[in-house]
C-alpha cells in the first residue's frame, strides 16, 4: 500500500541541509568540509484534521506496511495540494526518500471523526 493519498489540512516543510562539518580555529577562522553533494534531512509534517476514522486508519496501515521508520517510500502528489510552487521544492531531493520520523498520531474528535498528524524525514 502506498502512502495514503488524502489531501492534508496543514503542511510544514523544513528544507534540511547538506552534510558538512565545521572546524573553528582558536583565532576564529572557520573551515567547513562538505561530505556530500545532496541535501538531506528535510522534514515534513502533514496534518489531516477532522477526517473519517476509515481514512485515519490508512496511515496506521501504511505505517505497519513500511515497518514504522525502517523502510523509505515516496509520497503521492496529493500531499502537495494547494502548493503553487515547484513540486520538487517541498519534496525530497533526488536520491532521498521519506521515512517516518515518528509514529502517526491519531486524535479522536468525535465518533467516526479523527485528526491525524504524520511526521516524515527525508533520508538518502
Amino acid at each position: 500500500m502506498a502512502f495514503p493519498s488524502h489531501e492534508p489540512t496543514g503542511r510544514t516543510f523544513d528544507a534540511g541541509d547538506y552534510t558538512y562539518k565545521t572546524f573553528t580555529s582558536q583565532s576564529g577562522k572557520e573551515v567547513r568540509i562538505l561530505y556530500g553533494d545532496k541535501r538531506t534531512g528535510m522534514t515534513l509534517r502533514l496534518e489531516y484534521t477532522n477526517i473519517a476514522d476509515t481514512a485515519a486508519d490508512d496511515f496506521i496501515t501504511h505505517y505497519d506496511e513500511v515497518k514504522g521508520g525502517f523502510t523509505t517510500f515516496t509520497l503521492p502528489s496529493q500531499f502537495r495540494t494547494g502548493w503553487g510552487g515547484s513540486a520538487a521544492a517541498i519534496d525530497v531531493t533526488v536520491g532521498n526518500k521519506w521515512r517516518y520520523a515518528a509514529p502517526p498520531s491519531v486524535a479522536s474528535v468525535r465518533p467516526g471523526i479523527s485528526s491525524v498528524t504524520v511526521e516524515l524525514i527525508g533520508v538518502l
Binding site: E7, T9, R11, T49, N50, T81, G82, V109, R110, I113
Partner: protein, 140 residues
Amino acid sequence: MSKVYTGRDGKLLIDGTEQIKVTNWSLTGALEVLETTTLGDDQRSYAPGVQEFSGSAALLYYNDDGRNDAATALKKVLKIAGVSSTDTVDLRLRLVEGNTNHDVRLTAYVTSVTFGASVGEVSSAQISFQGTGALTGVTI
C-alpha cells in the same frame, strides 16, 4: 392560519408540572462544526460536530405547592447534599396554539439560580440550565 406567538402563549413545565408565575424563558441550540478545509480549497468546509442546548428562565418566587413554583428549580442547586447525576429536570418549553402544544423537551441540569428580595419588588428567581444528551421531543 398564521399565528403570532406572544408571551401569553408561553409555558414552562418542569418534570411534567406546569410552572406558575413564569415571566420568561429562552433556549439556545448550538452546533459545533468541525473544519474539513484542505490545503487546496478556496472556501472553508465543515462537518457537523456536537450539539448543545442551554437556556434560562425567570420565575416569580411564589409559594405554592413546591412543585409548580420556583422552588422546584431552586432545590436542584440549593441543597445541602451535593448535586448528583440524578438531579436532572425534564424541561418542556412550550408555546400553546389553541389545543396544540408546540414543545421543545430536554433533560437538563440547573446550572445556576439567582433569587433575592428587593424593596418594592416581587421576589423572583432566575435559573439557567444546561441540556444533557439529545432533545427528548420537538413539536414546534
